[in-house]
């Protein structure tokens, strides 16, 4: 009887992974390692530097943790614990890098952006020695947004049709196209700028304008959109396609009325993520946008500066003057905010799986159903 008696069928068995002792082991090892590293690093040995300190701390921590684990558990379990802690560090470090770089640009940039005139004036009347309250980033913001709009206008239709080709038609041509698209996603950004410079400016005689920069950015955006969209389109269930064909739908009808609406959220996410990448591209615009201190609303004629180029110019080329460096950080502040806004938009829009309806869409459908 005792053997066959089971736990009440309704309550699922909870597998506890974390326990008090494992938390205490981690914490104890961390604190112990901190003390030992501080003692050795700062007091006994003649070292300095924050980076070296934390690297040493981490090594000592892992050793302490391994020793503590071996005291409590057998060898297999100890190895398991040490590896899981090491992998968790990888995840934590990735998060730390994002926070460190973005917040550094935001904190240093605040010094420039807190004068609101920074956002509403250009560099037309400001020289390298003029104080921070003169000069601003308006022309670069306008340039970035206009160039991004044009680049999206070019790369969105091309990227999504290329993705549809890969996912819906396939065939012998699809394999090289897929390989090239994947290879292009990691291609040097600089090459796109050189290509546009060589084709449009040296061979066809155009001058450096906003639209040249936009074309260079779109060369980088097309593969990103195509690759991400293909993944999304492949998630559309095959049964939907078959249902449409069974009802006599033609191929383009199926794509237009079934597949694209089903994965709309995912496609929007793909495009917005590519826009977030596109707005930060620096290397493609170095040769193509030209540089100006004035506001240029027309992307078709005259040089048009954008935010990355502004930072490049004022920090890298003229980086000796403090006010210029702070202005560069101000531009980086605006750039990071724009990227974060685009990224958050993509996340919010992409929250639902293909075919899953939002609350509002469900309400609307219910309403229509009641009416009929």
């Amino acid at each position: 009887m005792a053997l066959t008696s089971t736990a009440p069928a309704d309550s699922p068995i909870t597998l506890r992974t974390g326990s008090g002792e494992s938390a205490a082991t981690t914490g104890g090892a961390a604190i112990g390692a901190l003390c030992l590293t501080w003692l050795l690093y700062e007091q006994v040995l003649p070292f300095s530097g924050a980076l070296g300190f934390w690297v040493s701390w981490y090594v000592v921590f892992l050793l302490f943790y391994a020793a503590l684990a071996l005291l409590q558990w057998d060898r297999l379990e100890a190895v398991n614990r040490v590896t899981s802690v090491a992998f968790a560090t990888g995840g934590a470090l990735a998060m730390a890098i994002v926070i460190a770089t973005a917040s550094y640009a935001l904190l240093r940039g605040w010094g420039a952006v807190k004068n609101l005139s920074f956002l509403t004036s250009t560099m037309q009347l400001a020289g390298p020695l003029s104080p921070l309250k003169d000069g601003g980033v308006l022309h670069a913001m306008v340039g970035s947004l206009e160039q991004l709009a044009i680049a999206t206008f070019i790369s969105l239709p091309l990227g999504i049709t290329a993705a549809l080709f890969l996912a819906e038609i396939g065939g012998r041509l699809a394999r090289p196209v897929r390989t090239i698209v994947e290879a292009m996603t990691a291609l040097p950004d600089l090459i796109a700028g050189m290509f546009v410079y060589s084709l449009f400016i040296l061979s066809l005689g155009f001058s450096q304008t906003g639209i040249m920069a936009a074309i260079a950015i779109s060369v980088n955006m097309i593969p990103i959109i195509a690759r991400a969209s293909e993944v999304v389109i492949r998630l559309v269930p095959g049964t939907l396609r078959e249902a449409s064909y069974a009802l006599g739908g033609s191929q383009w009808r199926t794509v237009w009325s079934i597949i694209l609406p089903t994965c709309r959220a995912g496609l929007v996410t793909a495009v917005v993520l590519a826009m977030a990448r596109g707005i930060g591209e620096t290397a493609p615009v170095l040769f193509t946008a030209g540089f100006t201190k004035d506001l240029n609303l027309n992307p078709l004629s005259g040089p048009q500066t954008n935010l990355p180029l502004y930072i490049w110019n004022y920090v890298h080329i003229e980086g000796a003057v403090t006010a210029d460096v702070i202005r560069g950080f101000g531009a980086a502040f605006v750039l990071v905010i724009l990227v974060l806004v685009l990224f958050t938009t993509a996340r919010i829009l992409g929250g639902s799986a293909p075919g899953e309806l939002s609350k509002r869409q469900q309400r609307r459908l219910a309403k229509e159903a009641r009416r009929t």
Partner: protein, 334 residues
């Protein structure tokens, strides 16, 4: 009578399971639709092809003037038979290798954590963080690396060179002042590593998540710990993905421009001592000097860019093929 034998004779052929040939003639609208889609696919190929063509057009004068010497000369004097990629390529490769040495272990650890260890509630936010890391502009990394990381890492550089200086490439010949460590390929490699991490994490995570559930459970059922399961099931299944992501990361690292350009202190020839101040890279040379030497400079630098493009295209295409092979088994499950 004559009909029956004929019918009997034809019976076996009709009785065999010959699949019926199904032919559907697409409507004109569908034909146009397929043509447009095919056109988009061809356009992508054409763009890549024309990048190659237009780099060759501009780079040809320099390649013709220098011939094979262009690949072996290791000085950087424009237009006097003294310019070659051998002065730039080794440093570019050194930066990429340093970046990969840092990014591959870190990226794989993060990918394993996300796909195997993270609690389900933490998984989506972590994937979002990796996507965000890929979206942070390289110029923001450049600012961070140049103005925040570099002043703080000089002490570590000095310690490394003094205690591990017996390893040839960690040796520093210059006197031991902080100035001797500014703008080294090592620091550039660290910053490039941060930009390579998202590629490695996202690709290898996809590979890991495709390890079959049945074999994971089999490993657990045989008494494996989680690490035992990862070592015997997840890592072998993800091997092709790991190799592919590393290669794609290599292509990305070779082509990184802005951060490298911010950090490196220019140098006139290859410097194998990675901790020492001074270094070159193909991308930095192109970005900083393309307008400095007139049409000669443009030609030489486009020839250099051609070498970079050809290298990264080959590396990335191989990586894409390796990755798609690793995916092929799971593609039908989508």
């Amino acid at each position: 009578m004559s009909a029956a034998p004929a019918g009997v004779a034809s019976m076996p052929t009709e009785g065999e399971d010959v699949p019926r040939v199904i032919s559907a003639r697409p409507s004109p609208a569908d034909l146009i639709f397929r043509l447009i889609l095919r056109g988009a696919g061809i356009t992508v190929l054409l763009i890549t092809g024309s990048i190659l063509v237009f780099l060759i057009i501009q780079g040809l004068p320099a390649l013709r003037a220098e011939g094979l010497r262009f690949f072996t000369t290791s000085t950087l004097l424009y237009g006097s038979h003294q310019f070659g990629v051998a002065a730039l390529l080794p440093d570019s490769v050194a930066i990429a290798v340093i970046a990969l040495i840092i990014a591959v272990p870190l990226g794989l650890a993060a990918a394993l954590y996300i796909s195997e260890y993270a609690p389900p509630g933490l998984r989506r936010p972590l994937i979002a963080v990796i996507d965000l890391l890929a979206a942070i502009p390289s110029i923001v990394f450049a600012l961070w690396g140049f103005l925040y990381l570099m002043p703080r890492i000089l002490g570590t550089d000095a310690w490394l060179s003094q205690h591990l200086g017996f390893i040839p490439f960690l040796h520093v010949k210059l006197p031991n002042t902080p100035q001797s460590y500014v703008g080294s390929t090592f620091v550039a490699g660290i910053v490039v590593a941060m930009m390579v991490i998202p590629i490695i994490v996202s690709l290898s995570r996809q590979a890991f998540s495709q390890a079959p559930q049945g074999e994971r459970e089999a490993a657990y059922a045989l008494g494996a710990t989680r690490w035992g399961m990862v070592r015997t099931v997840v890592l072998p299944f993800g091997r092709a993905g790991i190799i592919g992501s590393g290669m794609l990361g290599l292509g990305r690292a070779l082509g990184e421009t802005v951060a490298v350009s911010f950090i490196l202190v220019p140098n006139t020839s290859f410097n194998p001592r990675v901790l020492e101040s001074g270094g070159n890279s193909i991308t930095d040379e192109i970005a900083t000097h393309i307008f400095d030497f007139g049409s000669t400079g443009i030609s030489y630098l486009f020839a250099t860019g051609l070498v970079l493009f050809a290298m990264t295209l080959v590396i990335n295409s191989l990586a894409a093929i390796v990755i798609s092979r690793s995916r092929s088994g799971a593609a039908t499950a989508d």
